[in-house]
């Protein structure tokens, strides 16, 4: 009995002590939180090239101006190019979805410009940036703001833009007396001349599909002179069997049939097998190339030959000027579950301020707003900036249609007729 009394006393004392600790903790917590350092998490898949340098530049300036706020680094011992948290694109979206479902998304995330962007906006997991973008952000190019707007709200901050053009072996072209092709007929003539030397025409890698889609968009740039039908089709205002799309698919099929492209595109990834063909000199051209891969091409080609870029030529008889396709390269969203949204938006301001623009230009990226180009920039960079001014859209936001376009374009690269592309897009659009 005495032992039981002793036990009760002990339990009461323990309860008192625990209660006191709990109350004390609750009383102290808000004050402690107010002084807690903030760590922002930002995800990207672009760890190749110079993107980490651009990210790191913004991080350093942001952290210097905001003591107590840091941006989480994904790696250590990385010198001046640690950047943010980089994940492989292969499973990037899977991990992003999982993080959202677990209520632990990164505050800032790179987002693809295609259909997945719209899916994430519609999911309610991102915050609109319409108000934020009016303060402390540059005046982004109007078409670029349109591209990140859905339902009248801005949902992403576009960092830079890119164009997709044909890279060509300038040295070999000069040797053969070839001019930069202005029409697809001239392109065919150039390919024939290269063929006589035992060389392939345009090397492409479509195993990972997306570049096959860009071949289609390069034709739509001419078959739809208004540069609006892709957006109209996304909105259901015109069909996916619009004559502009059918003509584009037929154009590609005709070029495949006439041997414009090096064989085996479907067995090579973009910028792997096709870059090998181009850099080794076995192919005289390579598509698509933009500022996102120029450094990689330069590395691989080295001093072997001179190379440059030209837009995919227009079909014979077209009265339009030659033009590239292009769009946003990197863009970032802020997640709804982010506990530090203001700080996240503030960090994005550093990515696109004057310092951010200078870092982009220094690393051969093209800012998504008007930014002065230094006089010492290369001819290649100026070429890309010029091409950007008239670049046409390469975006289909309806994910299923885009996916089926890519699949069907692989079929076209294998000799299927252009009509299969239209059938696939119409079928996917009807789902």
């Amino acid at each position: 009995m005495a032992r039981r009394t002793h036990g009760s006393t002990t339990r009461r004392r323990s309860a008192f002590v625990m209660g006191t600790v709990l109350v004390g903790t609750l009383a102290v917590t808000p004050a402690a939180n107010a002084q807690d350092p903030i760590e922002l998490e930002m995800w990207s898949w672009n760890n190749e090239g110079a993107y980490p340098l651009v990210h790191e530049d913004a991080i350093v300036r942001f952290e210097a101006d905001h003591p107590g706020v840091t941006v989480k680094r994904g790696q250590s011992n990385c010198g001046d190019a640690c950047g943010v948290i980089y994940l492989s694109f292969t499973d990037y979206l899977t991990r992003f979805r999982a993080a959202i479902a677990a209520d632990e998304p990164p505050c800032i995330a790179q987002i693809p410009w295609a259909g997945e962007f719209r899916d994430f906006v519609n999911s309610g997991e991102l915050i609109p940036l319409t108000q934020a973008i009016t303060t402390g952000f540059p005046a982004f190019f109007e078409p670029i703001v349109d591209a990140v707007s859905i339902g009248g709200e801005v949902w992403a901050i576009p960092l830079d833009v890119n164009t997709l053009q044909i890279a060509y072996n300038k040295t070999r072209f000069d040797e053969l007396g070839l001019e930069v092709p202005q029409t697809q007929g001239e392109l065919q003539a150039a390919v024939d001349a290269l063929g006589e030397q035992g060389l392939f025409g345009i090397a492409m890698g479509t195993r990972d599909r997306w570049s096959a889609g860009d071949l289609f968009f390069a034709q739509v740039a001419y078959t739809d002179g208004t540069n609006s039908k892709l957006a109209q089709a996304d909105a259901g205002e015109v069909g996916w069997d619009d004559p502009a799309f059918a003509a584009a698919a037929d154009n590609v099929a005709a070029m495949v049939a006439s041997g414009i492209f090096a064989p085996g595109a479907n067995s090579m990834d973009a910028f792997v097998g096709n870059l090998d063909l181009f850099a080794s000199g076995a192919a005289g051209m390579m598509y698509p190339v933009g500022n996102f891969v120029t450094a990689g091409v330069a590395d691989k080609v080295g001093d072997a030959f001179e190379w440059s870029l030209f837009p995919f030529p227009k079909p014979d008889g077209s009265t339009l000027d030659n033009r590239a396709t292009g769009g946003i390269a990197e863009m970032f969203v802020v997640t709804a579950d982010c506990a530090h949204q203001e700080e996240a938006i503030e960090f994005l301001r550093y990515l696109v301020d004057d310092g951010g623009g200078a870092a982009l230009v220094a690393n051969d990226f093209i800012p998504s707003w008007d930014f002065p180009v230094p006089a010492d920039k290369s001819e290649l960079y100026n070429n890309m900036v010029t091409a950007q001014a008239t670049a046409n859209s390469r975006v289909i936001y309806t994910t299923q249609v885009y996916a089926e376009l890519l699949n069907a374009m692989q079929g076209v690269m294998d000799g299927q007729p252009g009509s299969t592309v239209i059938e696939a897009m119409v079928s996917a659009g009807a789902q």
């Binding site: 979206l93 090579m268 690269m413």
Partner: protein, 308 residues
């Protein structure tokens, strides 16, 4: 005195009505952890998937779903890509199952015959089983590409031949993935058959030999019937492995070109993580589960007939 009082045996204590620990309960206690883990990590997800197949759910918020009944199954029935994936899955499963069992059995016979070097063959053939399918897929991608080992061998025989684009040609891509799969898992089947061969009654083989049966007759009338249980198990494992194949296909071809190697698992992944249609992805997953369970039921029935 102490020596005079016998200690109660373990059996007695189990049987003791005071403790009431029967052998059945003890057995249950032993298997309970496994049962709990099995239910938590296998049954719960399977039932969850079964439930999600009847929902419109993007996979972002647990509570953000709409009940759509059988709509996802109707969608599958009308979806040509689903049927292409289904056909490829069946083709892949049948081809790999047949090839794995034939090659596995032949290699097992070779090793069991104890010819010189058979130990080395056993180790070499089993080595790929230990590798990750992703590594195997990457390796075969390199072997089969335009400048890979196979094309270089072809060019030795026919120097003017253009490279064969194994993974870029819709007519060759699925076959290429099947070859890579068989290469990786032949060693596994070989081991199963080798174990089965070790357990064959020697007296039957000797009796067959005394009766004048040759090697082929012995294999056909003694060895193969003796291996029926092993054959059943090997086929079941291969069928289930074939039905749920993902990694080799995804890494080697990503289902392409133009969906010529799309299988149910890769299509399910696309629906879930590219199109955010968790309901449809779950419906496809259920089809895979149903096919696997169907294969298991057939195996059990076949096993029962053998025992009768």
């Amino acid at each position: 005195m102490a020596a005079a009082s016998p200690r109660p045996s373990v059996t007695a204590s189990i049987a003791s009505p005071r403790r009431s620990v029967t052998p059945g309960r003890l057995g249950l206690a032993f298997v309970l952890p496994s049962v709990i883990i099995f239910c938590l990590f296998l049954m719960v997800p399977v039932f969850a998937v079964a439930g999600i197949a009847f929902l419109e759910w993007a996979g972002f918020r647990i509570g953000d779903w709409t009940f759509v009944g059988l709509a996802k199954f109707q969608k599958a029935a009308a979806d040509p890509v689903f049927w292409r994936s289904f056909t490829h899955t069946i083709l892949f499963t049948v081809a790999t199952t047949v090839l794995l069992n034939i090659t596995g059995f032949l290699y097992a016979l070779l090793i069991a015959s104890r010819v010189r070097g058979s130990g080395l063959v056993k180790s070499v053939l089993f080595l790929p089983v230990l590798l990750s399918p992703v590594i195997v897929a990457l390796m075969w991608t390199r072997i089969l590409d335009a400048f890979g080992a196979v094309n270089q061998l072809i060019s030795l025989v026919s120097p003017t031949a253009r490279p064969t684009l194994f993974l870029g040609d819709p007519d060759l891509a699925l076959t290429s993935v099947i070859v890579a799969t068989v290469w990786q898992f032949t060693g596994y089947n070989m081991l199963l058959y080798y174990a089965g061969l070790q357990n064959l009654p020697r007296d039957q083989l000797e009796a067959a030999s005394i009766d004048g049966a040759g090697a082929r007759a012995s294999i056909r009338h003694v060895v193969v019937p003796g291996l029926y249980p092993v054959i059943g198990t090997a086929i079941l494992l291969n069928v289930i492995g074939g039905l749920r194949v993902f990694d080799l296909v995804y890494v080697m071809t990503r289902g392409g070109p133009n969906r010529s190697t799309e299988v149910l698992a890769t299509y399910m992944y696309e629906q879930a993580f590219k199109f955010s249609d968790m309901g449809y992805a779950s419906a496809i997953a259920l089809v895979i589960v149903a096919l696997s369970v169907g294969a298991a039921v057939l195996r059990i029935r076949w096993g029962s007939r053998l025992h009768e």
